[in-house]
């Protein structure tokens, strides 16, 4: 599904090198988690996959469904089925949630909306996510609580039906109950769409107790330093990232 091949990424304004020879392969139906300390490039990676304007890939490639996507625009990548649930969803005053979803659905499918199905789908998603009905008529993310913003990202996910999902710190700002609701909805989606792959970016292993990853990667200084299974996440929580680096240094010395 997605293969990142030794990408090097700099910021366009300050030319800072953020990602360094980073490689990662995610097959159909796999769930991968990336953990790492602040400022190591995890969120940058998610934005680079989506094609954010702030970053430039100086070398390497990103292959999605056997096709390079690094020269595609953001919307073209979304139309291929890539979805980024953002850490801090942008507030867009004046554009209502429903208008936004109608436009996105029309653009993604290239067909006119069947309003009956659309409204029925929205109602179900609102109910599943325990969101109030009025938020669909409010300006996009404006006045939403932290939890509502994150749930709204999942509402979009369920409506737009992507096949590759990036969850960028979807657990931050969520209370325990809301996290359970969000994870339950993601798991239900994955159950109905078995080929869908997920990349979870997180600081904490708590979310990984609800959405079980096949692989966990530890990222520091723009690189993936260590990969393993979910035990690696718990080991990291116990020992911290410094511990991971020490382990790596020790093993490379050996």
């Amino acid at each position: 599904m997605l293969e990142i091949d030794k990408i090097n990424v700099i910021t366009k304004d300050s030319k800072n090198k953020i990602l360094k020879d980073l490689s990662l392969k995610i097959d159909d139906g796999e769930i991968h988690a990336i953990m790492g300390p602040n400022g190591t490039g995890k969120s940058t990676l998610s934005k680079v996959i989506m094609g954010n304007y702030k970053y430039e890939i100086t070398s390497g490639d990103i292959i999605f469904d056997n096709k390079s996507i690094i020269n595609l625009s953001v919307d073209e990548r979304a139309k291929l089925g890539i979805f980024l649930a953002m850490q801090d969803p942008t507030i867009i005053d004046g554009v209502t949630n429903s208008e936004f979803l109608k436009t996105a659905t029309t653009e993604l499918t290239g067909e006119r909306i069947n309003y009956f199905d659309f409204i029925k789908g929205i109602d179900k998603c609102l109910n599943d996510l325990e969101l109030s009905e009025d938020m669909i008529h409010r300006s996009l993310n404006k006045g939403f609580s932290g939890g509502e913003k994150k749930k709204n990202e999942i509402l979009q996910l369920k409506m737009l039906k992507p096949k590759f999902i990036i969850l960028d710190e979807i657990d931050s700002g969520l209370d325990v109950d809301s996290l359970k609701v969000v994870c339950r909805n993601i798991n239900e989606y994955l159950k109905e769409n078995k080929d869908t792959s997920v990349l979870i970016i997180t600081h904490y292993p708590r979310i990984l107790e609800y959405i079980k990853p096949d692989y966990v990667h530890i990222m520091t200084d723009g690189k993936i330093k260590k990969s393993g299974d979910i035990e690696l996440a718990f080991e990291t929580e116990k020992n911290g990232y410094i511990g991971i680096n020490d382990v790596r240094k020790k093993s490379s010395n050996e």
Partner: protein, 206 residues
């Protein structure tokens, strides 16, 4: 409120009114608002100059003016609100989109003389340049009385890249994202009128 069409250059408003206007040629109007009357105007302007004078001539006269404009060439908007009696209210909202490298100029003036008290005089102005157009806003408040409530704001710029990124990350093309944002800026009321539909067509054709 009653809805009326306006073709006159000068109109005296004697009862509550909601006015919808669509202009595509240079336009000038004077509104004289009577006692205890609230006037709401939704003025959709396409690529032309506008000059508007609003006279709040009697106590408790009130105006809410929504001006929205799409521009391809250099255009000016001038609005002057004269608070000629105490206890009068004006709220003026001007939103414009500059499509090409043209210049859009807003000159918005609220006037409250020395002996006129207890007035509210607000204005909010925004111009979005889609390319490298040069725009200017003069948000003027000529107030000679301390016992008033007044505010003004002016913003000139482009749509933020973070907003475009968010919309496009859901599969919305750049052109459609721009139209969505232009609509949200220029159509800020829930009214559904023939004038608005004409204006929506112009947004679709950007």
């Amino acid at each position: 409120m009653n809805k009326i069409d306006i073709g006159n250059k000068e109109i005296t408003i004697t009862s509550q009114k909601e006015i919808y206007i669509y202009d595509k040629e240079a336009n000038e109007r004077v509104y004289n608002i009577e006692k205890d009357v609230i006037l709401k105007v939704y003025h959709y302007n396409f690529d032309s100059n506008s000059k508007i004078v609003i006279n709040l001539n009697h106590e408790k006269a009130e105006v809410e003016y929504h001006y929205s404009t799409i521009n391809y060439k250099d255009n000016n908007l001038s609005i002057t609100v004269n608070h000629n009696k105490k206890n009068t209210i004006s709220n003026i909202y001007n939103h414009g989109v500059n499509i090409l490298n043209n210049k859009l100029h807003f000159d918005i003036c609220g006037v409250i003389p020395k002996n006129i008290e207890n007035c509210i005089c607000n204005q909010e102005n925004q111009i979005i340049n889609l390319t490298d157009g040069k725009s200017t806003i003069l948000p003027k408040l000529l107030i000679d009385n301390y016992n008033v409530s007044s505010s003004h704001s002016a913003y000139i710029g482009k749509f933020k890249n973070d907003i475009l990124f968010y919309l496009m990350s859901r599969g919305i093309s750049y052109d459609t994202a721009i139209k969505l944002l232009v609509s949200s800026l220029l159509i800020n009321s829930g009214n559904d009128s023939e004038e608005l539909n004409k204006f929506k067509e112009k947004i679709e054709n950007i």
